[in-house]
């Protein structure tokens, strides 16, 4: 009974914290983007413009919740929920600190990969149900991007799994006691980060959205809080990928002096800000270029990395 209460409380707290942070990332992103474009960004509403998020949310709630008459109604309504739900489910296995995690699955890494790839359903279904050619093109791109980048996202992590000998995320963190995996697996880190950006559809890999070509891609027809769900899903995705990068390559909660949660949060925010920096600086590749990178360059590198890691592990034993 006590155990159940504890986990319920933990889930509620984690959910609340994550959605709140995801909402305030809107502010963070706008401020940081402005910073890198020699502007100030939103700085009027409340201290440092923090209340812009409140204003944005109220606006989203009061907007007309429009469902186009030509859309496939049930799927159209259902699609935005998938992305937020899938990403939130992946957070089940993220170890924020030794005692702050919902479930310490022994297939934690696989669970994360499975759940984060479920997010693509929201894009495909949303794009298809909108019954709009731009949305469909966006959905198509989203699906193909997901398939190609999912492959080496998993492959790049296998080197880490080899070194730590476990799929359990807490074991992976504990295996980094001496030095972080980013030291031993730098190639895997770069590959995973690239795949993670593609996974969250952030710039420069936002080709399913591609507002300069496809209006707004898969969510062209969405408005109000349904659009908000896509948005929250995207920001949650950024948090998730940053958290996973930190867990797998940067020693998770490990660190001196400060409590583990603070270390985890600090490291995660560094990567969140790096995501925003990427958005500020890099142009979007063409669709076919993206696929070419994926299959012709990154996949062979991932396989090679796996081979070399395996060889060295064998030699050591």
């Amino acid at each position: 009974m006590n155990e159940i209460l504890k986990y319920t409380l933990m889930i509620v707290i984690i959910l609340f914290t994550l959605t709140t942070i995801a909402a305030w990332l809107i502010w963070l992103e706008r401020r940081m983007l402005a910073l890198w474009q020699d502007r100030y960004g939103p700085n009027r509403a409340g201290p440092f413009g923090l209340f812009i998020v409140v204003a944005d949310t109220i606006k989203l709630f009061f907007k007309e919740d429009w469902i186009p008459p030509f859309a496939e109604k049930a799927v159209f309504v259902f699609a935005p929920a998938i992305v937020a739900a899938a990403v939130l489910l992946s957070f089940v296995v993220v170890p924020f600190a030794p005692d702050i995690l919902v479930a310490d699955l022994d297939i934690g890494l696989l669970f994360f990969l499975a759940m984060s790839s479920l997010g693509v359903y929201s894009i495909v279904l949303g794009g298809w149900a909108s019954n709009n050619k731009y949305s469909l093109l966006g959905a198509l791109r989203g699906a193909s991007q997901m398939i190609s980048y999912e492959v080496f996202m998993g492959l790049s992590l296998m080197g880490v799994v080899m070194l730590s000998g476990s799929f359990r995320l807490t074991d992976i963190v504990m295996a980094q006691k001496d030095f972080w995996f980013v030291v031993t697996q730098p190639v895997a880190f770069v590959l995973f980060l690239t795949a993670g950006i593609a996974e969250t559809h952030r710039l420069p890999f936002d080709i399913p959205e591609a507002e300069s070509e496809l209006v707004a891609g898969f969510h062209s027809e969405y408005s109000g809080m349904k659009f908000g769900m896509f948005f929250i899903g995207e920001y949650l995705g950024i948090i998730l990928i940053s958290a996973m990068v930190v867990t797998i390559f940067f020693g998770g909660w490990l660190g001196p002096v400060l409590p583990p949660v603070v270390w985890f949060t600090l490291k995660t925010f560094v990567f969140i800000i790096f995501f925003i920096l990427l958005r500020a600086s890099l142009p979007r590749p063409r669709y076919d270029q993206l696929m070419e990178y994926g299959w012709k360059i990154i996949l062979p590198i991932a396989l090679l990395n796996l081979l070399i890691t395996g060889g060295i592990t064998l030699l050591k034993n």
């Binding site: 910073l35 890198w36 020699d38 100030y40 920096l277 990427l278 600086s281």
Partner: protein, 171 residues
């Protein structure tokens, strides 16, 4: 790959640059003297209205936002009975200023004309007239015009000789 990293680094360094934004209500924009903003009607050095109601500004206006009615006082001096500018139509092109033969209508460096009610953007003559000579101090149309309209007597204007006594033989 190196160019990507380089652009990421360069963008990061922008953090420490000076901001381009002008924080408007606290910080004001520099408006130059020729800036075309709110339209005013100026007065001559003696405090009379410069406008002679010639309708040239209304004719030059590409959006037809100026309307006026000319009239005359008992000394023959022309002035507008009413002068109305609808600033919700005005595009601040400055053609009225160019057309004006008496330097009466002028554009000023002021743009803060926001209103909650659209009707309040229609300015009447009282709103337009200012107690200033604007960009052309010292200019008085009736001093240089040939017509006597109570401002000067015969031959008293600028660049004018006193009238010749045609009955006298003295040069």
């Amino acid at each position: 790959m190196i160019s990507l990293l380089r652009s990421i680094g360069l963008i990061f360094l922008h953090m420490f640059r000076k901001r381009e934004t002008i924080q408007y209500p606290e910080e004001k924009v520099v408006l130059h003297p020729r800036w075309r903003g709110r339209i005013v009607l100026t007065r001559d050095p003696d405090g009379g209205e410069r406008c002679v109601g010639c309708y040239l500004c209304a004719a030059a206006c590409p959006v037809d936002c100026i309307s006026l009615q000319a009239t005359e006082d008992e000394q023959g001096r022309r002035y507008p009975a009413f002068f109305r500018i609808n600033f919700s139509r005005c595009i601040f092109c400055g053609y009225c200023e160019e057309a004006c033969p008496t330097y009466a209508i002028q554009l000023t460096p002021d743009f803060e004309m926001g209103e909650y009610n659209r009707q309040n953007l229609v300015y009447e003559k009282e709103d337009l007239l200012i107690d200033s000579q604007g960009k052309y101090p010292g200019y008085n149309y009736y001093k240089v015009a040939g017509l006597a309209a109570g401002v000067k007597g015969k031959g008293e204007g600028a660049n004018e000789e006193p009238p010749v006594d045609i009955r006298s033989l003295i040069p």
